[in-house]
Symmetry: C2
Subunit: 333 residues, 2 copies
C-alpha cells in the first residue's frame, strides 16, 4: 500500500542508500542519480516515513507542546502562534493537555516514547517542577510564561511580573488615583505574588496612597465577578483596581456596571494580557499587554537550539510590557 524507499530504488534502478541520500540535504549524490530518484519518487508519490527516519536519526521533528490553560482566551492566540512558529520551521506540535486529571509523569513518559526533539511548556499556572522533571528525563525543555528566578533550572521565557505590578501602579498614580485596589488572581499563584510585590513597591514610593488587596479564586470571569460583588457588599470601593488578568477585569466590570457604578467615572479598572475581548466595543478595557509573539518566537528558537546542542546554557528571557490605553481608566492628569 504505502510506497517505500525500496520501491523508489527499484524503479529508479539505484540502491536504497542512493534514494535516502537524495532526500538528505547535503548528502553525496550525483545530479544524475538525484534526478532519476526524484522522477521515480514523484511517479510513485513517495514520502519518506518520519517514523523510520526518526528511529534511525534520533530526531523526530516533533515538539511536545504542553499546557493546562484551556480556559483562558489568550491561550487560543498562544496556540495559534505556537503552532505556526513550529510549523514554519518544519516541525510539528504534539499537543498535551495537562489538565487536573492527567498525570504529569505519564505525560513525560509519553513524550519520551515519541522521542520528541524538545518540549515547550506553555503555562503560567503550571509548577516549574514539571519542566524540571522533563529536563531530568533527558528532554530539552523551555518554559514559556514561566516564572523568572535567580537560578533557573530550565530556560524560561516570560515577562517581568514584578515590573508589571509597578507599571500598573504607575499608570494608576499618573491618572490621579490614590485609593487603590489590587484585585489579583489566586493568592497562591506566583504571578499574583510577583505583581503584588511590584505594585506595593511602587505605591510605597507615594506616601499619600492607600492600598487594598483582594484576590479572585481563579483566573476566570466568574471569580472576578464574585470577588467584585463581595467588595461591593462589604464596603466602599477603592477608586481603581489593578486586576489579575483581563478575564477577571471583565468579570469585575460586568458587576460594577450592573451595580450602577460608572467605569471609569466612579471606579477605574486596569487588566492584564490584552486578550482579544479587551478591545471589544462592550469592553474597551485598559490593560497591559504581554508580547505574545515575541515570547513564542524566542521559546521556539530556544527549544530548537537546545535540541540541537543540549549543552546550550540555561538562560532567562524577560520581554517588555506595553500599556494599552482604552476606556476603563480616566485620562492622565
Amino acid at each position: 500500500m504505502t510506497v517505500t524507499l525500496k520501491d523508489v530504488a527499484e524503479r529508479a534502478g539505484v540502491s536504497r542508500s542512493a534514494v535516502s541520500r537524495s532526500f538528505t540535504p547535503g548528502a553525496s549524490v550525483s545530479a544524475k542519480t538525484r534526478a532519476k530518484v526524484e522522477q521515480a519518487a514523484a511517479e510513485l508519490g513517495y514520502a519518506p516515513s518520519a517514523l523510520a527516519s526518526g528511529l534511525s536519526t534520533g530526531r523526530t521533528k516533533l515538539i511536545g507542546l504542553v499546557s493546562n490553560n484551556f480556559h483562558n482566551p489568550v491561550f487560543l492566540e498562544v496556540f495559534d502562534l505556537f503552532t505556526r512558529a513550529i510549523q514554519d520551521r518544519g516541525l510539528r506540535p504534539l499537543l498535551v493537555n495537562l489538565s487536573e486529571d492527567t498525570d504529569p509523569e505519564a505525560a513525560i513518559r509519553m513524550l519520551r516514547q515519541y522521542s520528541v526533539d524538545a518540549v515547550i511548556v506553555a503555562s503560567s499556572t503550571l509548577s516549574p517542577a514539571f519542566a524540571a522533571d522533563c529536563k531530568a528525563a533527558g528532554l530539552p525543555v523551555v518554559h514559556a510564561f514561566g516564572r523568572a528566578t535567580q537560578h533557573p533550572e530550565v530556560p524560561v521565557v516570560c515577562i517581568d511580573n514584578v515590573e508589571a505590578g509597578r507599571m500598573a501602579a504607575r499608570a494608576l498614580l499618573a491618572r490621579g488615583y490614590r485609593d487603590i485596589g489590587f484585585l489579583g488572581g489566586p493568592a497562591g499563584a506566583t504571578t499574583t505574588q510577583d505583581r503584588l510585590a511590584g505594585f506595593r513597591q511602587e505605591l510605597a514610593r507615594h506616601p499619600g496612597c492607600r492600598l487594598r488587596e483582594s484576590f479572585a479564586s481563579t483566573y476566570s470571569h466568574d471569580a472576578g465577578a464574585a470577588e467584585m460583588s463581595r467588595l461591593i457588599d462589604t464596603g466602599p470601593l477603592a477608586d481603581a483596581y489593578f486586576c489579575g488578568d483581563d478575564v477577571i477585569a471583565i468579570g469585575a466590570l460586568g458587576v460594577l456596571r450592573k451595580a450602577g457604578r460608572d467605569v471609569p467615572g466612579d471606579v477605574g479598572l486596569i487588566g492584564f494580557n490584552d486578550m482579544e475581548a479587551a478591545s471589544w466595543g462592550l469592553v474597551t478595557l485598559t490593560t497591559i499587554r504581554q508580547p505574545l509573539d515575541e515570547i513564542i518566537e524566542v521559546s521556539v528558537g530556544q527549544a530548537i537550539a537546545l535540541s540541537e546542542r543540549p549543552e546550550t546554557p540555561v538562560t532567562q528571557t524577560l520581554l517588555p510590557l506595553t500599556l494599552i490605553e482604552r476606556g476603563t481608566l480616566r485620562p492622565r492628569m
Copy 2:
C-alpha cells in the same frame, strides 16, 4: 542513554521477544517471565519506543487534529475537549494549524509521513475537499463541524444548520418580533447559506413577517460591529437580528449600545454557539448552543472506529441544538 528492549531482556535474562510480549496485552507470556520483565523494566525505567512500535505495527496512536479556526473563542473549548477525548483513549493529538498561508497538500503529506492513525478535521470554514483529499491519500478521516450533505464522502459530525435557522426564527416569532433581520456570517459560507435557508423557511410560514438580510464579512467581532454600524447608518433597523455567531452578535451588541439603542428594548439579538463570553455579565447573550462535547465524543469515536476498520460505512451525525435564553431577546409573549 535510552534504555531499550535489549537492555531489559539482558537484565531479566530472557529474550527480546519475551520482553516485547510482556508489554503487549493478550500476548502469550508466563506469569513468571512477565514478573521478571516488569521488575527489570521498572529498575531500568524502560518505556517502549512509540516510534519503533509504530513502525512495525503500522499504528502510531497519533491522531492528526486539523483546524483553521484559531480566532474563534469557542475553538479553545473545542481543542480542550478534543485533546482530552483523544488522550483519554490513549492516543495523542498531532495539531495542524491550517491557516491561510499553509499548504493543504503539504499538511496531508506530513500526516502520511507520521502515519497518523486517523485525521480529525475540526472546522466549519474549511472546504470539504480537504477531508476528501485526506481520504484519497488513504488517511481515515472525520470532519467535525462540517456540512451535512446528501452523499457525504467522509463521515461528518455536525449540527443541522438549516434547523438552526428555523430554531432562531421560531424563537424570534414566539417573542413577537415581526420585522426581522438576518445578520449572517460571510455570505459565501455554507453555514450562512444553510442557516439562512432554514430561517427563510420558517418565516415564510408566517405571512405578516418582514425579513431583511445582511452579512458580516467574516466570523469576527469587528466584522459584526462593522455590519451593524452600516445598518444603523443606512436606515431604520429591524426589531431583532439572528446573528451568524456569538462574536458577530457581540460586535453588533457593542455598536448598538454605543449608539444608544437598548437591547433588548429597542432591538433583539440572538447569537449562535454559546461561547463562554456569551454568559459574561457584560454580554448575557441569548444564543443557540451546539453540543460541543457530543460532537467531539462522536468524532473521536468514529475516527478510532475508522482507523481500526477502514471499511466502516460513511455516516453523518446530526446533533441537537439548544436555545439558551439570556438577556438579549424580550420575553416570550
